[in-house]
Subunit: 330 residues, 4 copies
């Protein structure tokens, strides 16, 4: 239930009168709006107590209440040291799939920065389908990644796989990334909800739009409102020519439902470099506020997922084209 | 098996020597290329007979051999009276879901022509999930549709549901449309393969890319090479906010595999008018060579699928935006 | 809307008073129940006219009204010359995928009859993904199939692909089969609705339960109530080890919603002979009232789909086991 | 690569000569079989060194090498204090969805034990889609669950959500359960691989068979070979009448590929109590070696998932029927 108060002061009054410190049913406030999480209606006594402050009651809203436009109508804008994400802004995130060496991540960073990217991606902890695939180089990778980002004056985003690593990763990164396989790792989401640092949450392979919003809500419920949602392709009956089915429709749907920035990862959706750019063009044309792209200077020797990596030159073309498309639809 | 001959004359020689008039394994010729459908290799005797004419043998090609780029490398361009479809061209098809009256289809046609559409869509035979839903007005609708198209100097495209109606519909339409539920109605595809008029083939709800190409091949095998393929959304696990999942990746994938024009129907993918335009933008940004869109001046009273219909004003905006996007990626 | 009348005579009175001969909103009667197809509520005037005859009004029913339990609570029992299908009965249908020769279908028929099958399956018109695959031997196959069924005193079931073939196939078969790719070939369903001969309707690859019931309703709406529904596997994200995902849950779900017999085809679901029998066991344990199975004495040389064919000896084992399971759950 | 040695002693010799202590490419031994994980072939020098010990080299095996039948042909049998799981044995696991109180879990345990269950299920940490749904009562629940299991001489199985809770849960439970949303929480799988206690691994909602086997391999790679795999329904295009699509075919497929016991959870697949029993019958008929079922004495007041809970009386019927089916197919 969302109560639209007459003004911000009235909202404060309502919160004071209603808050019951119940972990399952917390009360949130945003400007003149008060959200009663998990509550469908309040007692008549409570209604009377707050009646003078209320302008409107919204009962029909998404269960991910903090994440909903009904509670937070305007776009969330996330400001990192080198980037402004959300709203009318457009952001490019790119880099290698995994951190291979300090030199390599630096070189890749130079290339993507030259193309206009402000956020340097790279994985130190890699979620691999098989235990016998390369698992990432851990803290060593985090250090190299941080050093490259600092040297290039870029933001760093990297994936976290384990609640036990939250503090470690926190020492290095600017943005936490939660991968598709952990979208409903609720322990991890809760842990990140305790941080005050942006989280990039990737949609699960078979997560519905509602699942994604509810997963984001686990982070938001803990008090961390700096959330970005990422469409990266879903599992469907056809995966012969692309690794996943890029659900481009999720972009406008999410933008209607939630205020968080919506980013697209077309590298994992495509799975083959030749389709990464057309999908990126589509994502931006549909309204994506940012793109994440994997690049590699020597894709056939990449440690992980070389088939879907663009070369720096290909990425330069992508970046130029998508900026033009973003201008058309702005 | 595809035999690339040294030149067109050599291809003719090869065909004469190899053709065996076998309905299951026909032989096709395109410029200097000879396709042996359903044949993996030929006898050593045959190889020797044609050896002098051969430049290259392609064994690894799509089973939809006439539809493949390996057989027909350059884009197919389809020319109707008022439109040029395929290649670098971009075409707009629009109109009401169903033909409601002569006046209505004419009015809708005026609106979409004003926005730049050259092909007027409309359904006289409607494939409805329930027998108790409006089934279309049949030949009466065809007549009204034809009259409107003629008056406006537009091409007419309409759906055909029954092999018994092929000749009837042929009397009126410029382009046959095969709907998603009939994509593997092989009897219908074979019947249309006997015509020499363009066919717009919509992808089935759970048709793989390979299924779609093989369905097109049923038409091509009969000798009708004027085929357009249409992505219109597929069935996935999530259909709460959009009617189908628009598989935007199918567009570049199909363009790699086949030479036919690829058209997008984002009305049926979206299912809700508010998402039709962002999906259309995405489709064009991904390389679609045309768009089909449903419009209605009074969506809430449309006979069929009003929820997904754009108003004429909304369509005008869509048309303007997608043309700009098409220019960016051209 | 379904009106439960006080008795059968009262139902007749209601029908006389309400029937308006509207093809989109026909009125059906079953014992003391009257179905108003596609109608949500009737005028107050009409309500008053029939008030004395009415025991109960059911507004919340499936749109496939004739197919619903709300209209027809008891199981439909279909009696053919050699089989009783539906209710507590259990029926075995088996035979080769395609009719290869008069001798072959007769031999296969002998084998499946020995195992307890009473319905001989076989395809003369084959819906193949590629036009360059064997398409069946047409009327010649129908004749051989009919002759074998007659010689063995079995019923014949065969697939029909084209509305133009309805009368031809009708001359030979006891049961029409509509395949998965034609489940929403509404022209074909309407044509079969005009016959008075059982129809076996296979679920489409991505047809929902509701789609299947509505497709059946196309047949029922024409007056043909002898319908069997068949679960044969659906398309999902995983088709590496089985050709389709056998949706065993569809069996009890359908039995709750509809009165038609529910049959399972585990050959097409499995796609590999080793999984046909465990799936058949599962289908019967879940309540399937019949099984269709493909057999071949020499699977590796079958004209079509040899990989999923059981040998006669394997089929004998299957038949014995499933009958025991049927007894356990009876 | 799997090397089948001439005998167990020969296998030991091979291991000594080849083991290179590489965490990504470990060497495993089972009787006379040696598995080289992640290795496709070995050097000619190595081949010569071991040539005398080798009977056969298997190169074509599943990437989940320890989990594969090629490495471990015979069924894994897991023995807990009160249960024998795997092979020809059949085991019943049941209990409430969540631990509601010490009295309640004890009462539910008595009921399921009376029906033949030897393993008492119950959740203390609940993975809920929304943060505002009941999240379980944590250690308090574990204590009550343990006490009930001890009092009833049953085994305890409970879900673990967080790597930080592994030691805590380990103090109480007999079997760790990894839920569908954590199937690819690789940090958790690795942590459980360090334990020597059975793990029940549920298939992810859109996990392929290969994904599931590779997830199990994460546990096995750590040295914990006591693994059970659970089919619990997958996400498909149709979820109107059942919560998930129970993939009954996964049971025989998994039994072909792996030696681990295969258990079915038909409560989460069905989502509605009326379909839990037919699906359980199907699962057992397809060869499932055990069933997990949720029960509640007052489903409409269950803390979690009451809609899918059987009453104790319904569970008694289920247990009796499935045992009869298990006998038929034994």
């Amino acid at each position: 239930m969302i109560i639209v108060a007459k003004n911000e002061a009235a909202a404060q009054v309502i919160v004071q009168k209603l808050d019951q410190h119940d972990p399952i049913h917390p009360v949130f406030i945003h400007q003149n709006r008060v959200a009663l999480a998990g509550i469908k209606n309040i007692s008549e006594a409570d209604q009377q107590v707050i009646a003078d402050q209320v302008e409107e009651i919204i009962e029909n809203h998404h269960s991910a209440i903090k994440s909903s436009r009904a509670f937070h109508p305007e776009d969330t804008i996330i400001k990192t040291k080198h980037s402004v994400i959300g709203g009318k802004n457009f952001v490019l995130m790119a880099g290698p799939d995994s951190i291979e060496s300090p030199e390599h991540v630096l070189e890749m960073g130079q290339d993507v920065k030259a193309a206009g990217a402000t956020i340097l991606r790279g994985g130190a902890f890699k979620p691999r389908t098989s235990p016998y695939s390369y698992q990432g180089n851990g803290e060593e990778g985090l250090k190299a990644h941080r050093a490259a980002a600092d040297a290039l004056e870029m933001d760093m985003v990297t994936e976290i796989l384990d609640t036990r690593d939250v503090d470690l990763v926190d020492q290095y990164t600017d943005i936490f990334q939660v991968g598709t396989r952990n979208m409903q790792n609720f322990a991890l989401l809760k842990a990140l909800g305790q941080k005050r640092k942006p989280v990039l949450l990737k949609r699960g392979m078979s997560a519905t739009i509602d699942d994604l919003l509810n997963a984001a809500e686990y982070i938001a419920a803990g008090g961390n409102d700096q959330i970005m949602l990422m469409e990266r392709g879903i599992r469907t009956f056809d995966s012969k020519y692309t690794r996943n089915t890029f659900d481009v429709g999720a972009i406008p749907v999410l933008q209607k439902l939630t205020h968080y920035p919506i980013i697209a990862d077309t590298s994992h959706a495509a799975g083959h470099s030749e389709f990464v750019t057309p999908l990126a063009q589509a994502a931006v044309a549909a309204g994506a506020q940012g793109l994440m792209t994997e690049i590699h200077n020597d894709p056939s020797h990449a440690f992980v997922d070389g088939a879907q990596a663009l070369t720096p030159a290909q990425y330069q073309v992508l970046a130029t084209t998508v900026r033009k498309i973003h201008e058309v639809i702005a």
